[in-house]
């Protein structure tokens, strides 16, 4: 990256529209984009599909930016606009300050060869190539020599934990392994900006959790600027630095996981956050009161502002005495410690 651009955000999206259908551009120009809702309604009346409506956001360098929304809300379309797999109808997309919508075909190929990487929901592996050839394909496009390609491919294959399978074909791999190949391929050219379109949705929950953890590990070492799509709130909260929530093509809220959970902007977002175990995503700092003249002297559990509610509760419960438990006739049959309680309810002691 040149110095000039280092201050610019990795991705900047301004007033982006993607309208599908014949003559979309003309219609959009004619209608104008003053009022998003109004414009979208008019476009729909003409039989056009406004899949992305006036999207505005920035992704900082090294940030993990998650886009969330229901099926059909326009997430994939948005990411395809940014990578210019589809031609946006209006607006601007800047990558490291460069207006990518003005880029020539040649420049675009150049960017894709060197700077952008993408992982697909259905993997998009080339069925006629071995794992190593799949992973090396972007390098081949760069014009790298055969041995160099192979060496680099093996390196990334090792990174995603697929050592020893490099000469297998995609059809011989399990779903989780295939997506590892997809991830390896997108990392082969060491891109600065990484797009992932629901990379783990097609996988079963166990594999998904495992890959999420590995993904976080990879990201911790590589520190890429990432746009990650998911429709799973738990995944979003686990991974994201910031989350953008989309509905019907509109970005309705952008914020940190805590902001999204605690201050949903409307019922739609609240609905997403409903099933989230709040205790795990709220910190004790967010519920504490100002110090009054309460009994603060004495032995207390160690609470810190950054602690999650669950952790704090476990700590507090440990200070209580055991409580007797009686049967139907009032006879004492056992006892229970409050911290066992808390643990049984799902909070994990730290």
């Amino acid at each position: 990256m040149t110095d000039k651009n280092s201050a610019a955000p990795a991705i900047a999206v301004e007033g982006l529209w993607q309208v599908f259908g014949e003559g979309a551009r003309n219609s959009l120009q004619k209608i104008g984009t003053q009022d998003t809702r109004d414009t979208a309604a008019k476009l729909q009346d003409q039989g056009l599909i406004p899949a992305v409506r006036d999207a505005n956001f920035e992704v900082q360098s090294g940030e993990l930016f998650v886009i969330m929304g229901l099926s059909g809300s326009g997430k994939s379309t948005l990411i395809r606009c940014i990578s210019r797999l589809v031609e946006p109808t209006a607006g601007a997309v800047r990558i490291d300050g460069e207006d990518i919508l003005q880029a020539s075909d040649k420049r675009l190929i150049d960017l894709r060869r060197n700077k952008l990487g993408m992982v697909f929901q259905h993997f998009g592996l080339f069925p006629h190539m071995s794992v190593a050839d799949n992973v090396a394909f972007p390098l081949k496009m760069q014009g790298a020599g055969r041995s160099e390609r192979r060496a680099r491919a093996l390196e990334v294959i090792k990174l995603v934990g697929l050592e020893g399978r490099e000469d297998a074909y995609p059809r011989e791999l399990s779903g989780g392994q295939r997506q590892r190949v997809g991830i390896a391929r997108s990392l082969a050219v060491n891109p600065d900006i990484w797009f992932l379109d629901e990379p783990f949705s097609a996988l079963d929950p166990l594999i998904r959790r495992q890959l999420q953890d590995e993904f976080l590990n990879i990201q911790a070492t590589l520190k890429k600027s990432i746009v990650f799509i998911t429709h799973d709130i738990a995944e979003a909260l686990k991974l994201a630095d910031r989350i953008a929530i989309m509905r019907d093509g509109e970005v309705v809220q952008i914020g940190t996981p805590t902001q999204i959970v605690l201050n949903p902007i409307d019922d739609y977002v609240r609905e997403f956050a409903r099933d989230v175990p709040k205790g795990r995503h709220m910190t004790i700092g967010e519920v504490m009161e100002p110090v009054g003249d309460g009994p603060l002297a004495g032995e207390w559990p160690e609470l810190r502002t950054g602690m999650s509610l669950e952790d704090a509760l476990t700590q507090c419960a440990a200070t209580f005495e055991a409580v007797p438990v009686k049967d139907g006739d009032g006879k004492v049959v056992g006892m229970v410690r409050p911290d066992t309680f808390v643990k049984a309810l799902g909070a994990e002691a730290t």
Binding site: L111, G124, F126, H128, P138, R185
Partner: protein, 673 residues
Amino acid sequence: MTLTRGTKAALIAVIVGVMCLVLQPYFAWLGKWPAAWTFPVNEWLSSGVGAILDLFKPVARGLSWLLAFPMDGASWVLGNTPWPIVIAATAALGWRLGGWKMALLGLFGLSFVLISGYWAQSMRTLALVFVSVPLALLMGLAIGVLAFEVPRFRGAVNATLDVMQTVPTFAYLTPLLFLFGFGPVVGLIASAIYAAPPMARNVLLGLERVEHDIREAAIMSGGTRRQQLLLVEIPAAGNQIMVGVNQSLMAALSMVIIAAVIGGFDDIGWEVLLTMRKAWFGQAFLAGSVIVVFAIVIDRMSATLATQRQHYDAKIGWIILAIGAILAFVVRIDPAEIALLDGVADVVDTSVGAFTAANGAALDSVKNNAMFYGLLPLRIGLDQAVLPFTWGFQWQPSYSLWFFAAAVALAGLCAARGRMLTGLTILLCAGILETGIADLPWPFVLVGVCAVGWASGGWPLVRLCAILLGLILLSGLWERALLSLYLSGAAVFACAIVGGLLGFWAAVSKTAWVILRPMCDLLQTIPLFVFLIPVLMFFQIGEFSAFLAICLYAIVPMIRYTRHGLTTTPDDLIEAAKSSGANTWQTMREVRAPYAAPSILLGLNQTILYAFAMLVIAALIGTTGLGQSIYLALGQADIGLGLSAGAAMAILALIADRLVQGFAEERRKALGL
């Protein structure tokens, strides 16, 4: 009361039919399209197209001269390579493609060719295929890729491919004959042209079906368009493209053999034709078997290309080849002297002769019954077909009245029970049966077809039908077209019923499918031409033999699609029906059959196209109508007649295709598929 589209269409047809019947005695032009209203289309085409083709003649002759080199080359190589090496090479290729099974198929297949005594002729045929197929594949690939890359062309290419599929095989030959002159090059080019469309279709289909994610992965890897296409999309579409290669090979083989009617090249097709003409059925049977064996070997081997293949060690392939080379040194027998199977031919000859002699009466009665009570009334109507000689009594005009009265009564009964459409259909059938397809008044056919078109595809289809049928009327080929319609219609009808029943049987009984499946596979592999041999053996030249040949060939899709439709009903639907208490037959009638309807209609569509394709070939053994005209035109190098009759045939096939497709589409939509 609101009428469905189908009912309205049938009503219109009935009204026009009745009007024609009533008014025909007063206005003769209602019955037959007057000759004065036709245009000399044949002459125009002859001079017009002739002039245009004349322009291209030098280029064509140049091309012909050029193509003669690879053809003569291939022919020389195949002809002069010792046969052990050719056989070993085939077996080695089979090994590489599909292991021992294919190697043995190659070995036994070619060994059969060798001992049949038709080695030299077979190698000439093979040489033609070897040269024409690469041409066809290249053309097909180019067309397919172009259509994919330039979406504007796609519609046009698809329409052209559709039309090419319906143009009868012989019709290709006449203009080519004019352009390229007599000789094997015509067969070569005809087969290249004929074999290109399946390739183009499959390339386009394969490219369209490449997964979205795969396509985008190639883009995001930074490939240029050409890299995307060559390195990712075409290989990813590989299986579908290989299906195209297989179909292309089979089409080329079929056409090379058909092209033998031009003569001038002593290949295996010519051998069949010659022996058939001389009524040497034993030899014809033998030569036909060679063609079938060829077809099976080529088909099965190339079909392995489209499947997930294992890797078979190249070393063993080389070893097989080496054994062949050694044998070539040791065994030096001229293949022309190997005719081990002549005895078999003689046996076939004598036993067929004995069989026909012994069962001549039975065979004749089969034939006569089918003719007198089925084909003939359908062709010229009960009013003319019922004679003392055929039915034992003479049809009187009053019988027609009684006949119609009965039909009206039956139709009224149906209508009263709320089955209006059935009633109207009965009336239409009665009218057609009394009049005969060949004698149908043209306004009835025109309006009737348009009405069905309206029910099937709305006004655009009506317009298409009207224009195309109008063209046939104006060209003066109407009567011949009706004759073709009659024979193919009768065959399609028979195929639909018998094939439908067989398909149904195969759907309910595993054993049935075990028996039927290899038969279907075989029938679909055999080149068109060969179907003529067995029917000729038993029923001699004539319309009934043609009818049988058409049925044999055209019945397969009906069986396959019916079975497929009936067996692919989703399990949850069947379970839902079962849990509602439906028994097997109720499930079949209420759930499976409706669900299978689109598939069965597609089968019918294929059967119709197959029937038209065979109709032209069957002209060789005696049919009237367009097929005969096309065949005659080929013999006389009459471009005008060849083109116009070919076009008329294509028009009939195209209209039938569109009508049935329309209904299938509607059913699919209704089922939400």
